[in-house]
């Protein structure tokens, strides 16, 4: 993938390699061929978005079309990532889908308070999970009009 301006990128923030593999598998099986950038924790996610650290010098004008954000992450957790990218003018409008294991009330409340666009709880049943990923991809990549760059 070139990651060019016309290309819609998905940023998947996920520390669990199994979940990463399963999410990518689900996207591929549903023929969602967009570039998938995987950040393995909150630091990597912020580096990618702001062109720092690991992604020093990256063209930050190329923004992900949607961010699939897990909450429980090493180093910097998902809520903190959400808070920081909502604080920054460059990233405050990006669609963020919280994609996580829990449906604890505090997580839902915090995620929406910090301005997530959607909250999906990963089902154990892979068929359901795969279907959720398909719908997510369809919706955010094809149906939803992204904010102007």
């Amino acid at each position: 993938m070139s990651g060019g301006a016309g290309q819609k990128v998905i940023l998947l923030v996920e520390d669990n390699p199994d979940d990463e593999a399963l999410a990518i598998r689900a996207l591929k099986r549903h023929h969602i061929s967009n570039e998938i950038v995987v950040a393995h924790d909150g630091v990597e996610a912020l580096d990618y978005l702001f062109g720092t650290g690991l992604y020093e010098g990256r063209d930050v004008n190329i923004k992900p079309t949607v961010i699939l954000l897990d909450l429980k992450l090493p180093r910097i957790n998902g809520l903190e990532v959400l808070r920081r990218l909502r604080e920054d003018d460059r990233t405050k409008l990006l669609p963020v889908v919280v994609l996580t294991t829990s449906s604890e009330e505090q997580d839902l409340l915090n995620s929406y308070s910090l301005g997530c666009n959607s909250y999906i709880r990963k089902p154990v049943d892979f068929v359901q999970f795969s279907e959720a990923i398909r719908q997510l991809g369809m919706y955010w990549l094809l149906m939803n009009e992204p904010p102007p760059n």
């Binding site: 669990n16 199994d18 979940d19 399963l22 598998r25 099986r29 909450l71 429980k72 996580t100 294991t101 829990s102 449906s103 604890e104 009330e105 505090q106 990963k122 089902p123 154990v124 049943d125 892979f126 068929v127 999970f129 795969s130």
Partner: protein
């Protein structure tokens, strides 16, 4: 009158006869005056002594000091050999007692701490003393006293005595004893009156001392009670701190269960499915069956974790209190169940306008569990029936079940969910509400046995009780009460 005075008088008289007449007349006039002067002196001394005693009584000093000072004061004024305060031993029937205070002439022995046993006193005189009797004896050997009385007095070398009761309220506490030992002595009415007055004041002192003792005891009791309350408070505070910590841990635990326990299950299920999709040609029917079983098991476990989390959430969450329309909830839930499984036709009979006070979310969880149970266990019925309603306790047709309820008011509202499904054997009724207890095989009726445990917790948090009634293949009824006043439990 001194000689110089009479000499002066003599010079005014004509002769010796006139002087003698004059002397006679003057003596007659002067005698009562001197008598009156002596009396006035004594009265003055008496008042001084009384004033001393009363002044002391008003000072917050202890009884012993008051007695001692009073004894000294009386002995000085009356010029007697011994003044003693005698106290009866309580509960001895006035037979036994001892001198607790005295002032005695050094020539005579001390009466202090000499135990006195005088049976005839308790028998004969105590009642009179209690009524305020005073004994004034000029000579004990010449007053017709009984032998035993004389014996008691003789042991203290008494010859004349004046005894006034010391009363504590209406009770005879002891005696104020004035002893003369060196010989007989007449007791003047003014002396008797003086001693009686003193005894009266001592009675007041006794009363005050008793009040003081009571007050001290009360203060001590109160201090101890305050200390106990304080300790209890400390313990409570400690308990609250510990509870908060436990609650926090429980929160953290649930949170990590919620996150971490489901992730591996997703891997198990996901990669089993991946195998089924990618390696189908390498698997025989056994292999496929095994993978399906793995998937089914991981999904069951996922459901189990979810249900357990719901169970702990029911326990942890704060309780709200609103009006909750249970009829509306039941209708809504039955409709939802119908949507999930449109192939089944079920008659839902729901009493309207059953409204209670409680937590809307928790009551919803409770109704959901009860109704989906009813839904599940009627799945084999051609004519399934699910009922919801409320009745008064008096109308519950099995009154022996009322043990399950704290309040025995027949007006208490009892809610019920009834079905005509597979029912259960009453032998196992106690197991129904325990988590993970199932009364049916898993392939017969799916479920993990957490639902009714959750129902019980919701009901208990609302201060109510839940119980069940059923028969094999004849349906089941779940009854529950919800107290007006919600209690945490």
């Amino acid at each position: 009158m001194d000689a110089a005075f009479w000499d002066k008088i003599r010079t005014y008289c004509r002769d010796e006869a006139a002087f003698e007449n004059c002397q006679q007349m003057l003596l007659q006039e002067l005698h009562p005056l001197e008598e009156a002067a002596r009396n006035a002196d004594f009265q003055l001394e008496r008042h001084k002594a009384l004033l001393h005693v009363i002044t002391r009584l008003r000072e917050p000093i202890d009884l012993e000091e008051i007695f001692q000072a009073t004894a000294i004061e009386i002995r000085q004024l009356l010029a007697v050999d011994r003044v003693g305060m005698f106290r009866f031993h309580p509960d001895s029937g006035w037979d036994d007692g001892e001198f607790v205070s005295e002032d005695v002439d050094p020539e005579f022995s001390s009466a202090i701490a000499e135990p006195v046993h005088d049976h005839c006193f308790g028998d004969q005189f105590a009642v009179h003393y209690q009524a305020g009797r005073i004994q004034a004896v000029a000579d004990i050997y010449d007053a017709g006293l009984s032998d035993c009385h004389i014996q008691v007095l003789a042991q203290f070398q008494v010859r004349a005595n004046l005894v006034v009761p010391l009363l504590l309220g209406q009770n005879l506490w002891g005696l104020l004893c004035i002893h003369h030992c060196r010989g007989p002595r007449q007791w003047d009415p003014t002396e008797i009156e003086f001693v009686t007055q003193i005894a009266g004041h001592l009675g007041v002192a006794l009363y005050h001392a008793e009040l003081m003792v009571e007050l001290r005891r009360e203060i001590l009791d109160r201090q101890q009670a305050e200390q106990r309350a304080h300790n209890l408070n400390q313990e409570l505070r400690q308990a609250i701190v510990e509870l908060k910590a436990v609650n926090k841990e429980l929160e953290a635990f649930s949170y990590s269960v919620s996150h971490d326990l489901r992730a591996p299950l997703r891997s198990i299920d996901g990669f089993s499915q991946a195998l089924l999709e990618d390696c189908l040609e390498h698997l025989d029917s056994n292999g496929r069956d095994y993978l399906q079983r793995i998937r089914a098991a991981s999904q069951r476990m996922g459901q189990l974790i979810d249900d357990l989390l719901m169970l702990s959430r029911v326990t942890r969450s704060d309780l709200r209190r609103d009006a909750v329309d249970l009829s509306y909830l039941a209708n809504q839930l039955c409709w939802d169940l119908q949507q999930i499984d449109p192939s089944r036709s079920i008659n839902c009979v729901i009493q309207s306008n059953v409204v209670t006070q409680g937590d809307p979310l928790l009551l919803r969880v409770m109704m959901e569990n009860l109704l989906s149970n009813a839904w599940k266990f009627t799945s084999k019925q051609p004519q399934a029936l699910i009922e919801f309603g409320a009745m008064r306790l008096a109308e519950v047709n099995r009154p022996e079940l009322n043990w399950a309820i704290d309040s025995t008011s027949p007006e208490q509202l009892v809610y019920f969910v009834r079905d005509n499904g597979v029912g259960f054997d009453m032998v196992y009724v106690d197991k129904l509400f325990q988590p993970f207890q199932r009364l049916h095989r898993i392939n017969e009726f799916p479920g993990n046995g957490v639902g009714l445990a959750t129902v019980q917790r919701v009901v208990r948090r609302h201060g109510g009780r839940v119980w069940a009634e059923g028969h094999l293949n004849q349906g089941a009824t779940f009854y529950f009460t919800l107290m007006e006043g919600i209690e945490e439990s």
